[in-house]
């Protein structure tokens, strides 16, 4: 019985706790949910869904934000 799962987060394999929602994941990384956009398995998650969507083994998650650009 493992209390961690493996996901692919921002291009890297990462072990995270089981039973996390997407919101839990964001907060565990010390990020502000309103300042980022989440793509999970190539689909964009609306912010209202962060609480309801679980982080599952093998998920490919991209957390993106705005940076300086031209």
């Amino acid at each position: 019985m493992s209390d961690a799962i493996q996901i692919h987060l921002n291009g890297r394999d990462r072990e995270v706790a089981t039973d996390l929602s997407v919101r839990d994941l964001i907060l565990s990384l010390d990020l502000h949910p309103d300042l980022i956009v989440v793509e999970r398995n190539r689909g964009i998650l609306r912010r209202e869904m962060y609480d309801d969507v679980p982080v599952e083994p093998g998920d490919v998650i991209e957390l993106v934000h705005f940076v300086g650009g031209g």
Partner: protein
């Protein structure tokens, strides 16, 4: 007020720039990349008088070794944030980045870039058109970065783009308007706003573009990489206004030779 004064006052007036139903407070749009630090960036953007800044969509750096969100420094209430698809070389990537930018919740606008060549960073016209059609169908207001090619510009307009943004010269090159004639044709033939984007290096380049009657310019490196970005931002603000006024004023025809400015009669023996 005398009729003459009234007439000249009227001529100084100018309709505001409107793109996709949105009114822009300035004809100068600026990028937010390449600044030495965020304080200088903010000061320069304010000095430029621009109300619209472009931003890029990138992965959050989970090691926090660099770039935090630009929203820590730019207030979306103060500036209209225009997400770009910079760095995208395929239609699929550009669409993906555009959707991520929109999901930020700030805007349906996107500055669409589909780059075709790593060395010159020139746009891929075919890919840009294809991505533009998809994004327009999804309700995006697409401001399409493109070559200074009239046919591509016309097709982007037909595809429903809110603005077409021909380059002056390659991104970050500072070479200025390399084909003034091409920019003139694009402005003359398109109905949607034309914004000259990329390659402008200094204030005179901006004047040249604006004197062709284009609706605005978009700059980044010219300000960010000036020795004094804040001062250059102010120069660019003046250049946009000077170029616009010169265009609206209607320039004198260029002549092949000299014509005296002072009377030729009344000279002493």
């Amino acid at each position: 007020m005398s009729p003459a004064t009234e007439a000249s006052a009227t001529r100084v007036d100018d309709a505001p720039l409107v793109i996709g139903g949105r009114r822009f407070t300035s004809r100068l749009l600026v990028g937010t990349g390449k600044y030495a630090d965020n304080e200088i960036m903010l000061e320069a953007i304010r000095a430029s008088g621009s109300g619209c800044v472009t931003v890029a969509v990138r992965r959050v750096d989970l090691d926090r070794s660099h770039t935090e969100s630009i929203l820590h420094h730019l207030d979306p209430e103060e500036f209209f944030l225009l997400p770009n698809t910079a760095g995208c070389y395929t239609v699929e990537d550009a669409i993906r980045y555009a959707r991520l930018g929109r999901a930020s919740g700030f805007t349906d606008f996107v500055k669409l870039e589909v780059i075709g060549d790593q060395e010159t960073l020139l746009p891929d016209p075919e890919g840009t058109l294809e991505a533009a059609r998809v994004l327009v169908a999804e309700g995006f207001k697409v401001m399409a970065y493109t070559n200074d090619d009239l046919i591509t510009a016309l097709r982007l307009e037909d595809a429903g783009c809110a603005a077409v943004m021909p380059l002056a010269s390659p991104i970050g090159s500072g070479l200025g308007v390399v084909n003034r004639w091409a920019i003139r044709q694009i402005k003359r033939r398109l109905e949607v706003p034309v914004i000259v984007d990329a390659g402008l290096g200094t204030a005179s380049d901006v004047c040249v573009a604006m004197e062709e009657g284009v609706d605005g310019v978009l700059l980044n490196t010219a300000i960010a990489h000036a020795d004094d970005p804040v001062r250059m931002a102010r120069a660019m603000r003046c250049a946009v206004e000077a170029g616009r006024d010169a265009f609206l004023a209607g320039r004198m025809p260029a002549r092949g030779g000299a014509a005296p400015s002072s009377p030729t009669h009344g000279m002493l023996d």
